[in-house]
Structures are given as C-alpha cells and as structure tokens.
C-alpha cells in the first residue's frame, strides 16, 4: 500500500507547487530588474479568481470550444502522473513510456489550436497558426533528445531512465536541448512572451484570448503543470545522481533560476527566427546522438 500512498503524495506535491514555480520565476525576474513585482503566490490568487468568475462564450463557438479546457488539463495531468520525479510508482508502469508524454502534450495542443480557431477571431487563428508552426518543429527535436537519453539508459521506460545515473557528454547535450525545448513549449521569452498580449508577439496567449472564468483558470493551471513537467524531466536527466525530496526541490529551484536568467538575457525573436533557435536545439540533440554513436 505504501507505494500508492507515495505516488498519491507525489502527485499532490507536484499539483500544489506548480503555480508556485511560475510565481518564483516572475519574482526572480522582477528582483533582478530591481522591481518588487507581485508575491510568489500571485498565480494562486489568479486561479482562485478565475474559478469563481462567470464565463462568457462567443456566439460562433461550438462544443469544441467548451470541451478543450478539460481535454488540455487532463492530458497534461496524465503526462505528469507518468513522471517518476520523487518516488518510482509501480502501478502506472504499464501506461506508457517517455514518448507517450510527447504525444499526450500534442493531444492537448491539437484541441487548444482548434479552440483558438473556433470563435472566428483573427487573434485566435494567428495564435493557432504560430503555435502549430513552433510545435511541429519542436517535436522532432524533443524526440531526438529523448532518443539520446533513452539510448544511454537502455530503454524508453521512465523507471529505467530515472534509475540510471550515468552522466556523459550526450546526456548533458540532450538535457540542454530539452531545456531549450522547454523554453519553446512553455512559451518563454526567446520564442513567445507570456506577459504581454501584444498581438504581434503572443502565441500561447492568443489562443486563450476568448476564454474567461473557469475555462481560463483550467488553461492557466495546465500551463503551470506543463512547466513543472518539463522542469521535472530536465532535473531527472541533467542531475540523475541526487535522489530524494530535498534534492528535487533544490534542482527545481536551480532550474527556475536558470530559466529566469535566460529570459532576462534574451529578447524575443521574430517568429521565423524561432525556427533557427529550435534548429540550434536540434543540432545539439543530433550531436548528442552522434557522440553516443561514436561511443565518446
């Protein structure tokens, strides 16, 4: 029975501290920019506000618009369930492996894009088109990085990957590539700017423009969960040796610091330059595989 308890505890911890992370990242960014900025619990307040507010749905929207928030949140949480970050839960071993996480995220994204197109606004269409553009180039890069990690670990099963503790050049390069992919996926600065609603730059936000109230809250929560999912994966891969709850928190905070620093040091790239950014991540993962192939 303890296994199920451990597993349930792990999910609860991840769920609770997901919004906390984005609060911490915005806090770090504001402090480095010598501003006070909102407290780290601001995301919680936003979520509470959204869940209690009413919802306005466009007249053109169809049932897809209403279903999408639930599909996005379920697919992200299922992906989160599979991640053996704190404890190595046995029961969900049969559900899938590392690749299935990528496919689950693409399920969420597919419906979010359709929801963007549904209410017949230009912003939604623009956001969907850009999101699809970025996502379809990110997928092969993420796949190559996962291949590199799995080849080191010997199988794509998440348990074996969590238990391997070898560090070599290919895992480092793969984790850096994954970090860049995380930047693209969680719409961080070089690819997309979370904070603004300027139609020229927003990608992820544009799709959520038409949402309000409860659905918007769910989509925000999903975004936080995706963020902690990626950070969990990178922490799993980049520093495999340190196991246990205290090391996990340290790793996550370190990654938040790195993410905040990258956000500050870069400016948002033009949409078609983002392809070069992703290509750079791709080259990194190809290098990882070549290094592996030559047994370096």
């Amino acid at each position: 029975m303890p296994n199920a308890l451990h597993f349930f505890f792990q999910v609860l911890v991840l769920f609770v501290c997901a919004p906390l992370l984005s609060g911490i990242i915005t806090k770090i960014k504001n402090n480095l920019r010598f501003r006070r900025g909102p407290s780290i619990f601001q995301p919680y307040f936003n979520l509470l506000k959204y869940f209690s507010k009413d919802e306005v749905v466009s007249v053109h929207a169809s049932w897809i618009f209403k279903i999408t928030p639930y599909i996005v949140i379920t697919s992200t949480t299922t992906a989160l369930l599979m991640l053996p970050v704190l404890f190595y839960g046995r029961p969900l071993i049969f559900m899938g492996d590392f690749l299935v996480i990528i496919f689950l995220l693409s399920l969420g994204r597919f419906f979010l894009i359709l929801a963007g197109l549904d209410p017949a606004t230009t912003f939604g269409g623009m956001g969907s088109s850009r999101e699809m553009f970025i996502a379809s180039f990110v997928e092969p890069v993420a796949m190559l990085a996962i291949f590199a990690i799995a080849l080191v670990a010997g199988s794509t099963n998440l348990q074996t990957i969590a238990q391997t503790s070898t560090i070599n050049t290919s895992t480092i390069m793969a984790s850096v590539a994954l970090f860049l992919v995380a930047l693209a996926e969680t719409s961080r600065i070089p690819v997309d700017n979370q904070e603004t609603h300027l139609e020229l730059t927003m990608i992820h936000e544009a799709m959520l423009l038409e949402y309000s109230g409860r659905s918007l809250g769910l989509l925000e929560l999903a975004a936080h969960l995706k963020q902690i999912l990626f950070l969990g994966i990178i922490s799993l891969v980049a520093f495999p040796a340190f196991v246990g709850i205290q090391f996990f928190i340290l790793k996550i905070l370190l990654l938040c610091l790195i993410m905040a620093l990258t956000e500050l040091s870069m400016a948002k790239m033009r949409l078609f330059r983002a392809v070069d950014f992703i290509a750079f991540a791709g080259i990194l993962s190809i290098m990882a595989i070549i290094a592996l192939a030559l047994g370096v």
């Binding site: 466009s58 399920l107 969907s128 796949m143």
Partner: protein
C-alpha cells in the same frame, strides 16, 4: 501453355490484406448509395455499382492469386476498373485528364513489373510463386539487384512513392468520394502487398542497400507528401497528398524490416513489419473515414475548396464529429489508433538504434526524427483542414445552407469511426494477430513471437509498455475528477453567450477569420527552399492616391511536376513533332526512302 490453372494462396499475408479490403469495402458500399443518389441517373448509378464490385473483386484477386501471370492480368483489370471509376463523371475536363495521367502512369508501372516477371520467368521457367522462390535463390547477384529495382519502381508507381506520385493528387480527387476513399485506403496498399510478396518473400532480401534505399524513399515521401498536403486548399487533394505521406510511414516499417532481415535481427524485423502492417490497416480505416467525410461535405456544399467552407460543425454535427475522429487518428493523438502505430514505428527505430552502433544508429535516429517531424506537420495539416472547414463562421453562401448528409452516409462513416476507436483501444489484441502475419510476411516463421503481454498491454520490448486501454481509462477518470471537483467547490458555472471580442470594431464578418492560406503561411516560408512560393500583391487604385482594394495571389510550384514530368512529356511530344516530317507528303521522297533502305542493307549486309 499460358492457360494453366492458377492456384489461390490463402496464407496469413493474403488473409490480412483481404480483411483490410473488406473492412473498408463494406462501409464505403453502404456510403455509396447515399452519395450517388442525388447526382447521377439511375443507369449510371447501376453502372457505377457494377464497376465498384469489379474493382473490389480484382483487388481481392490481386492479393490472393498465386501465379505471376495471373497476378499481372488481375493487376491490370484493377487499374482498368479504377480508371473507369475515376472518369465516372465524364463531363468535366479535369477528370478525363486525370484519368489519362493515372492510367498511363499505372501502365508504365505494370510494364516495369512485366519486365521483372519475365526476367524471373527466364531464370526458372514457370510463373508459380513457390517455384519462383526456390529457383531465384541461385540467381546471380547483379540480376537480383536489377529485378529488385524494377519491382520497387513498378510497385512504387502504384503506391505513390515520391518521384512517381504525381498521378495520385490528380486521380483521387476526381473520382467519386467513396471510390477515392477505396483507392487511397486500399488500392495503393495492394502495391505494398506486391512489394512484400515479391521482394521479401519471393526474391529474398540480399543486400543491405535495398533496405536503406526503401527507407530513404519512404522518408522523402513522408516529408514531400505532408508539405504539399499543408499547402493544399482542395480538401480531397490534401487527403491524397497525406496518403503519399502515410504510404511513406508504412514503407518505413517495411524498409526497416528488410534492413533488419539482412542484418540478421529477426525479432526486430518482425517488429518492424508488424508496425508497418498495423499502420497499413489503421491508415486504410482513418483515410477512408476522412475521404467519406470530404465526400459528404462535397455532397452538402457542392465545393471542395476549404477557403469557401467554414462553420459546418453547426449544420453538419455528425460529419464534423467523424471528421474530427479521423483527423485525431491521422495526427497520432493518444487514445485513437494512429498514435499507436506511429509510437510502435518510433519504438522499432529506437530498438534498432539501441542494438546497432556507428552509422546505422545515426541513420535510424535520423529516420525517427523525420518521422516525428512528419507527425507534427500532419497534425498541423489536419488542424488546418478541420479548423478551417468546420469551425468559425461559414465563408460562403453554400457553406451557410449546408444540410447534414443522409442516413446511409452517416452509417458508413459511423462504422469506420467505430473501427478507428476499436483498433486504437484493442491495439494489444490486434498487434498480437498482426505479429503472426508479420512473422509469415518476413519469411522467418519463427516460433512463438508476440508483441503484447496480455490483451491490454503492448510490449514490443521487455521493458517498454503501452496500454491504450489503461491510458484512456485514466484520462476519463481525471476529466471526471476535474469537472465534478470544480462543480463541487465553485458551484455550477454560469455561462453567458456574447459576441466574439472585436476590439471595439462594430461587427466581425467571416472575412476577419483566418484562412487556410494564412494558416499555412509560416510553413510556406519555412519550406520556401522546396516550394518556391510565388506571391504577388496588386494595388487596385481608384486614382493616383486612393487605393480601393488589394489583390493578393500566391501559389507554390510543384517541382516534381514542373521540372521532371513536364519537360519529359514536352521532350516526347517534341520528338513526335520532329518525326512528323518523315511523312512529308511528296511521293519522290517516299521512293527515295525505299531506295535508301535497299542501298544501306546491301552495303551493311555483313552486320546482320
């Protein structure tokens, strides 16, 4: 001498293809009644149905016949009947032209096959598959390579592998929709049956570069197919190009199984063949569904150009739901069948990369990356197709007053949608069956080989598991948790219907929506090195200063068609024109020809 009785073989491979043909034939047959009723005269409908039955029977015969000569006969009857179906509504010019291109290309393919069969016949004196197989072992090396290339490109023209794919986007959209769903779903698969039967089972893979060539061609077909599908506006051409892409994915499975056969990794070879065959039946089902959906859209609105459609989800809810299931399947989204076969192919490539080091590992990983890229682009293509056609506001009067398709069409599509979901959830059970077919198809016939632990979990490798049933179970539980949890904690959400946010602009019309060209513009720029996009902006001026409106025109050039085929055909017609002046009209020249021949023959008498 030629009339010898031709044996019918009922081995697992033929059985598997027979079942695939029937899974698609029955729903399309039901669908065809509803589809044809409104548009054609009764006698034409009956003629259409008879041709339909001949088409199905000839396909069944192709996959079951046991003699190469009979194979050729039935192969040609299949092309002939599908030609008559492509030119079925024979009044519009485009379908006649499409029919001609289609029949000439398939005939060239059949000619290559004939040469390959005759070379085989020359070596072993009979057309029977079993005799051929035993005799061809002793064939010299060079001859085997020639026969392999002839067979690959012969079947490739019919399967639509990239350099030879140009007829596919012409022929499939012109045929009536239930026929194009059959052609895309099953007919091009008979060519893959041919590749498996003749190259793997009869000829026997005998050098490494065979597998690599097939994989490279498959990757090219994947990418080219999906990029052109992205750029398409006509929904049925879009589906035709995506068939080229999916044929690439299936060929990836078959090619890597040829590669592993040569490298000696027999379990991997069987896994690769299973992945290929599983994607084959998946593609047959969801592509059939998508084409039938496109057919009902055409039936309801009378146009196939998605720029003119929109908002059909409100007037055609059932068709929209089926089309959504089809698009989810083709873009490999988890609970439905497309995802499992793409996952299986990726795992197979991963396991291949795991066992081999050096160049082979990089090659297999790179193929996996291309497969992932194709998956991503396919998702983009079908979000565009579904989003622009069904969601938002209707863009033309026709889309406005579209009505839901008739009962028989819905039943047909319903059956196929059910198959999609059943193949997805029951994947473990089906993969166990298909692995025994693959066991036979690779010619290894190993002992107990099974890629699923129990009827719920697929396990291609002792450590790698996937249970689609468990996955969809958990998805449903979590969805229920969120809907009920939120309702408990925050009460019933009060939803009001209001106008879409229009930044204060007084009224959003359908012209403000995103169009298909707009949606695929980033991809057009990203792949401009391959598409050579052409775009022209024209200012229509009322006077020197007042610009009344803009005209924007853009299109991409299809390089295969433009640079290879057009020049080739122009060359042939050029020589034809040049040869016209042999018949110059004057009798003196004609008499001169006769004397010249006599003279030359007498002088060069030694040569003959």
């Amino acid at each position: 001498m030629l009339g010898s009785a031709c044996p019918l073989l009922l081995d697992p491979l033929s059985l598997f293809f027979g079942i695939t043909i029937f899974t698609l034939a029955i729903p399309t047959f039901i669908y065809s009644f509803g589809y044809l009723r409104g548009h054609y005269s009764l006698s034409k409908i009956w003629m259409g149905q008879i041709l339909f039955v001949i088409f199905i029977l000839s396909m069944l015969a192709v996959v079951t016949v046991g003699n190469a000569f009979a194979f050729l006969i039935v192969w040609e009857i299949m092309s002939l009947s599908s030609y008559f179906l492509v030119v079925f509504d024979s009044t519009n010019k485009k379908s006649i032209e499409a029919g001609t291109i289609y029949l000439v290309m398939t005939h060239i393919g059949t000619a290559l096959l004939t040469i390959a069969f005759l070379l085989m016949y020359k070596h072993c004196g009979s057309f029977d598959f079993s005799v051929l197989h035993n005799a061809l072992i002793s064939l010299p090396e060079r001859q085997k390579d020639i026969i392999f290339l002839l067979l690959l490109f012969g079947f490739g023209t019919k399967a639509g592998i990239v350099p030879l794919h140009i007829w596919l986007p012409y022929a499939h959209p012109q045929a009536p929709s239930h026929i194009s769903s059959l052609m895309s779903g099953v007919m091009i698969k008979t060519a893959l049956y041919g590749i498996i039967r003749f190259i793997i089972l009869i000829l026997g893979v005998n050098s490494l570069w065979w597998g690599e060539l097939v994989i490279v061609l498959a990757c090219i077909s994947c990418l080219v197919g999906v990029i052109y599908a992205l750029m398409e506006q006509d929904i049925k051409t879009l589906l035709a190009y995506s068939s080229v892409e999916n044929i690439g994915i299936i060929l990836l499975g078959i090619g890597s199984s040829m590669l592993f056969l040569k490298l000696g990794a027999s379990t991997l070879a069987i896994l690769a063949m299973t992945a290929g065959l599983y994607h084959l039946i998946n593609h047959a089902v969801f592509k059939g569904l998508l084409f039938l959906g496109a057919g009902s859209i055409y039936n309801a609105t009378g146009t196939r150009n998605i720029e003119k459609l929109g908002g059909l989800i409100k007037s055609m809810p059932w068709t929209a739901a089926y089309f959504l299931i089809g698009s989810m399947a083709i873009s490999a989204l988890p609970p439905i069948n497309g995802f499992i076969s793409e996952w299986l192919t990726l795992i197979m490539l991963f396991l291949g990369a795991l066992t081999y080091t050096g160049g082979m590992k990089i090659f297999l990983c790179f193929t996996a990356a291309i497969l992932a890229l194709t998956g991503g682009l396919a998702a983009a293509c079908f979000t565009k197709a579904f989003g622009i056609t069904f969601l938002a506001q209707p863009r033309s009067a026709r889309a406005q007053d579209a009505k839901e398709s008739s009962l028989s069409m819905n039943i047909g599509m319903g059956i196929l949608a059910f198959f999609c979901i059943a193949l997805g959830l029951g994947a473990a059970y089906f993969i166990a069956l298909i692995s025994s077919v693959a066991n036979f198809a690779t010619g290894l016939n190993m002992a107990k080989i099974n890629f699923s632990l129990n009827p719920f979990v697929v396990a291609p490798h002792p450590h790698i598991f996937l249970s689609p049933l468990l996955l969809s179970g958990i998805l449903i539980i979590i969805a229920a948790f969120f809907t009920l949890g939120l309702r408990l904690f925050f009460g019933k959400a009060k939803v009001t219907i209001g106008p879409t946010w229009d930044c204060g602009y007084y009224k959003l019309t359908h012209r403000n929506e995103y169009t298909a060209t707009g949606f695929s513009k980033p991809f057009r720029l990203a792949f401009s090195f391959f598409l050579f996009p052409f775009h022209k902006v024209q200012k229509i001026k009322e006077s020197r200063y007042h610009i009344k409106s803009f005209a924007y025109e853009t299109h991409t050039t299809k390089i295969f068609l433009e640079y290879f085929y057009k020049n080739f055909i122009a060359g042939i017609f050029g020589t034809g024109k040049y040869m016209r002046n042999i018949q110059a009209g004057s009798i003196h020249i004609y008499l001169g020809y006769i004397c010249l021949t006599i003279l030359l023959l007498l002088v060069f008498i030694g040569w003959f």
